[in-house]
Amino acid sequence: MKAIVSVLGKDKKGIIARVSGALYDMDVNVEDLSQTILQDFFTMIMAVETGENSPKFDVIKQNLRELGDKIGVQINIQIKDIFDAMHRIDTK
């Protein structure tokens, strides 16, 4: 399943490392990544795909939420289809 992970919050060390690590542990592959920092506000968008050994979507979501709480940022995961629907005319 293809999905988008978004990470929003105050910039600090190790955000990318910890989020990628958590995804790796859940057999989720990072296909693309972009990040920007605006006035100390960190925004990272990752395009990911879940693997054969990934837990269920709600478990991935919960694990990422808990990680976010631990490092003080907001981490969310949403399936890719919602962004196709809202931002692309041609959704196939």
Binding site: I4, Q78, D81
Partner: protein
């Protein structure tokens, strides 16, 4: 890959602008439950709801988690019960079965305790309609609707007269709860068969055995988008269209996915702007953002006409099949801006009536004094229904004559139903007109002026 701007736009719509899918409504046909025995019919109805809609809430919650957008209500609509119980006369048994099933599967509302009497009433349909107050007062989840007119049949004024007394009786029976039974009852002209919204949802006779219909929302999203627009009304309309497209696309995605997972037909998306009492989720505030000091001011009807039209134009390409009520809703008690304007006296019932000529769907969630006569309630219904019949559109009335309260008091319904200032009503007597009964002939459909 999407741009950061696109991703953040979607996230902000949910976290700051109240974007949600208002309802997934599963329509369930009950024709295969008809028997000539009341208890057996009720048992079959209960089984069919449990079997068909048992996983609706779980499916809705799972989709909501995955797309990251709240799906506020999960509902069921059924074939008008007056058609299902005509042979057994078991409407009271069936409504209890429906209420029990609705509670067990955890849905928010179930619609379809309904009758279609736009031309005339059979003796049983009259008995059925007379049962509505007791039916609504003794259940929690079930909603009721009665279609009293169509543009082709005219207005059944006998039914309009009867509905005045039905509203008053329902108000009396729930007088300890601000007459809340009336909030679960709606009278229609040109009722639609695929409406996902309550209180008027039922599954029409031309529909599939089970079908998913979805109602979208998002007044807050439109309001925020308009905050950036400094240009003329053409630009305002363009921004509303673009925003409505995005909102409706979410509804289409949810409808298709819910239908797939439930193994039922995908019906329609209702292109709606449905407010809630929450701050930042108001249709009235959109009109004020466009440039009115308050909803209800002169100019309100024009601004609302543009808003309603732009919502439809934006939404229509975003969905495979459009249906339901499709338009901006103006329920007074469910919209913080409407409540404020009504309290100030800027928004009157007469202005609301004019607004319903250009939007969806009618005089909705309006609290009126409890001592208003049933003839006046019937006359309020007749006026609103006439607007729908002549303009070939759906109109509806959901008024609450709040028992024991007078103009200026507040009726509190709670939850999405909100609270409403009791609005003053013109007390001039229409009794002779209402008691004439009969049928207002269908209007001319040519020579439109």
């Amino acid at each position: 890959m999407y741009s950061t701007k696109e991703i953040l736009e979607t996230i902000n719509m949910v976290s700051h602008q109240h974007l949600d899918v208002r309802t997934i409504t599963l329509g369930v046909s009950l024709f295969d439950c008809i028997t000539d025995d009341a208890d057996r019919t009720a048992a079959k109805v209960y089984d069919k709801i449990m079997r068909t809609a048992g996983s609706l809430v779980a499916v809705g919650n799972a989709i909501s988690e995955e797309i990251g957008i709240p799906i506020v209500n999960k509902r069921v609509s059924v074939t008008p019960i007056s058609l299902i119980t005509a042979a057994s006369r078991g409407h009271m048994q069936v409504i209890r079965a429906l209420d029990r099933a609705a509670k067990e599967i955890g849905i928010d509302f179930l619609g379809g305790y309904s009758a279609l009497v736009h031309k005339a009433m059979t003796p049983y349909e009259r008995e059925f309609i007379e049962s509505i107050p007791e039916a609504l007062a003794s259940t929690e989840k079930v909603c009721s609707s009665v279609n009293v007119a169509t543009s082709k049949a005219g207005v059944n004024m006998d039914a309009v007269r009867l509905m005045g007394s039905v509203f008053k009786r329902a108000a009396y029976l729930t007088r300890d709860r601000d007459s809340i039974a009336c909030a679960k009852l709606v009278v229609f002209a040109n009722a639609v068969e695929d409406n996902p919204f309550m209180a008027g949802a039922f599954l029409g006779t031309g529909e599939d055995d089970s079908v998913v219909n979805v109602g979208v929302s998002g007044p807050g999203v439109v309001k925020v988008a308009l905050e950036e627009v400094k240009g003329d009304l053409t630009q305002v309309a363009e921004v509303i269209k673009q925003t409505a497209f995005k909102i409706t696309r979410v509804g289409q995605l949810v409808a298709a996915e819910a239908a797939r997972r439930l193994g039922v037909a995908c019906g329609i998306v209702d292109l709606s702007l449905a407010p809630t009492p929450a701050v930042g989720d108001s249709v009235a505030h959109i009109l004020e953002e466009i440039g009115l000091e308050s909803v209800g001011a002169c100019g309100t009807t024009a601004a609302l006409a543009m808003l309603n039209d732009a919502v439809k134009k934006g939404g229509i390409m975003a969905s495979s099949h459009v249906g339901g009520l499709s338009g901006a809703f103006i329920p007074v008690s469910e919209d913080a801006g409407m409540i404020a304007a009504a309290r100030k006296g800027v928004l009157t019932i007469e202005k609301l009536e004019a607004m319903t000529a250009v939007c969806s769907v009618g005089l909705d969630m309006i609290a009126i004094p409890g001592d208003v006569s049933e003839e006046i309630v019937s006359a309020i219904i007749a006026d609103e229904i006439a607007i729908g019949v002549v303009n070939t559109k759906t109109t509806a009335v959901r008024v609450i004559p709040v028992w024991g309260k007078k103009a200026g008091d507040t009726a509190v319904f709670g939850g999405l139903l909100g609270e409403a200032p009791v609005m003053p009503v013109n007390r001039s007597d229409p009794s002779v007109f209402i008691h004439r009964g009969g049928r207002i002939p269908a209007p001319l459909h040519s020579n439109k002026n």
